[in-house]
């Protein structure tokens, strides 16, 4: 009796498995969706072979939606609006979508299979994003937990970006990571240098990508990134500019200041760099040089917890205490912030209190 039950279960399981296998084979070999049209933003039309995911097809056509998991449906970054032809929403997508996104036809591009003509909507600036391959030509320790990486571009050989923008760096699968991971890092070099970029990267505890960069990446390695992204850029006015950034948040500020220097800016510029101790200061010589070269630039490094018996002669405490001293007219000032969310939140409140309009406070949320 027991044996016959086992045999029956075995046969049913076997048939089920065989049918599932048959379906997979049929799907991959027999299913032919022919040529499909992807209409993007009601402007650009792509004729593609159906059968792959929307994310893959867009990538193959050099349209790079953000993705941190390589299309496995585990990061939820590759959202886009599918207006027509996307098929039903899948259970693999729903965990990543808010209710209003579901109502507005937002989908995960990696989970939408192109089987028919399809209409989608994506942000227009995505078209400027490219995938780059580069060679790491220099890795430099700037502090005990911050490195500067210089990447020479090999394909394509040049990049066009605006000072303040960021790229998405791809860390491959490595010893401590089960899959490639992608993270956003601001470019610290000037946009006038088109054949290489520099990134400034702080090690994040438990961080998959920063651990790769700090412990595994070597000079001579080939790396991949996409970009440029972001609207944290210099506004085209003659207002005074106040920069406030700590840690690796210095990266986009260097890019902006180098650009302003090269292009002969006459704007009044102040940069507050908040750090804990002298160990956290870096590239001080560069800012001293910029103070000499720029028409009106002041660098204000400030230590919140200088070591006892330190020979530090500069400002101490928090930069918020010094903002009013350096900002002449809040109405004529733009503030550019980059750093930890805690710092941005605290500084933003202080800037509003000293009459800088919220419309003139800029920072990158890396979304």
């Amino acid at each position: 009796m027991f044996i016959s039950i086992l045999i029956t279960i075995g046969i049913v399981a076997g048939i089920g498995g065989f049918l599932a296998l048959l379906l997979i084979i049929a799907e991959s070999t027999l299913a032919n969706y022919g040529e499909c049209t992807i209409m993007i933003n009601e402007k650009k039309e792509l004729k593609v072979k159906g059968g792959s995911s929307l994310l893959n097809i867009l990538n193959n056509n050099k349209i790079f939606l953000s993705s941190a998991c390589g299309g496995r449906g585990s990061c939820g970054f590759c959202k886009c609006k599918v207006i027509e032809g996307g098929g039903p929403l899948l259970p693999t997508e729903t965990p990543f979508l808010e209710e209003d996104e579901k109502k507005n036809n937002v989908r995960l591009a990696c989970q939408v299979k192109v089987k028919q003509d399809i209409k989608i909507k994506i942000p227009a600036d995505i078209f400027a994003v490219q995938e780059f391959t580069g060679k790491v030509i220099k890795i430099q320790d700037l502090t005990y937990d911050i490195k500067e990486i210089t990447i020479e571009l090999t394909k394509p050989k040049e990049i066009e970006f605006q000072a303040g923008q960021f790229v998405q760096f791809v860390a491959p699968r490595y010893e401590k990571s089960r899959q490639p991971v992608t993270r956003a890092y601001s470019i610290s070099s000037s946009p006038d240098n088109k054949d290489y970029i520099k990134l400034i990267i702080k090690k994040v505890p438990d961080g998959l990508c920063t651990t790769y960069i700090h412990e595994y990446l070597k000079e001579g390695d080939t790396v991949i990134f996409t970009g440029p992204f972001g609207d944290f850029i210099i506004k085209d006015t003659q207002n005074d500019m106040v920069f406030i950034a700590g840690g690796s948040g210095k990266a986009p500020i260097i890019s902006m200041l180098e650009y302003l220097n090269t292009h002969g800016s006459k704007r009044r510029l102040v940069y507050f760099f908040g750090a804990r101790t002298k160990k956290d200061l870096y590239l001080t010589e560069l800012f001293e040089k910029l103070e000499k070269e720029l028409k009106d630039f002041t660098y204000v490094p400030t230590l919140s917890q200088p070591e006892e018996n330190s020979d530090w002669k500069g400002k101490t405490g928090y930069i918020m205490a010094y903002l009013k001293e350096y900002i002449k007219d809040g109405a004529e000032t733009e503030a550019y912030l980059c750093g930890s969310p805690g710092m941005i939140d605290a500084v933003q409140k202080k800037l509003v209190a000293i009459k800088i309009s919220e419309d003139n406070i800029f920072y990158d949320s890396f979304n």
């Binding site: 585990s74 990061c75 939820g76 965990p95 990543f96 979508l97 808010e98 401590k176 990571s177 089960r178 899959q179 993270r183 956003a184 994040v204 505890p205 438990d206 961080g207 998959l208 651990t211 919140s304 917890q305 928090y318 918020m320 750093g339 930890s340 969310p341 805690g342 710092m343 939140d345 605290a346 890396f366």
Partner: protein, 151 residues
């Protein structure tokens, strides 16, 4: 142990190198559901709910957030420091929403004991009663939490 595809996915997300470098299970070889069940029994014995613990963790996190990433003293004998980092991470339990990267370290100056948690920990405790596996860097031991956070 038979698992649903959903449970398999959650167990996989908790491994090192998937969402975070060290994962969520530490050196605990138990299934995540067994960890939750045991911690839930501990909470019942202590007559406290996951929501109450999450509220207390959130209370310290909110006050420390306003100190601009510097250590502050809260309620006389809690030294708390919130270190925030750019970016957000998802929960290993699949659902919408991502949680800020950061660590909150609290030292009870009376007993000298210290615990460290993340914004994601607060969510996982409140919504999933998940305190992470033993040996995980952000494992919050329910019985210890009572001694450190409420006394």
């Amino acid at each position: 142990m038979k698992q649903t595809p959903q449970e398999k996915k959650i167990q996989e997300n908790m491994q090192p190198g998937v969402i975070t470098l060290n994962g969520f299970l530490g050196n605990d070889n138990r299934h995540y559901q067994d960890i939750i069940d045991e911690d839930r029994r501990t909470l019942e014995r202590l007559s406290i709910t996951p929501g109450e613990i999450a509220d207390r963790l959130q209370y310290f996190a909110d006050l420390a957030w306003d100190s601009y990433d510097a250590p502050i003293i809260i309620d006389e004998f809690y030294q708390v420091e919130y270190k925030s980092y750019r970016g957000k991470i998802p929960c290993p339990f699949p659902h919408a929403g991502r949680y800020p990267k950061g660590t909150i370290t609290l030292k009870n100056l009376n007993c000298g004991k210290e615990i460290c948690w993340t914004p994601l920990n607060i969510h996982m405790i409140r919504e999933h009663c998940f305190f992470e596996g033993k040996g995980s860097p952000h494992r919050i031991e329910p019985s210890e939490v009572m001694k450190i956070l409420f006394k």
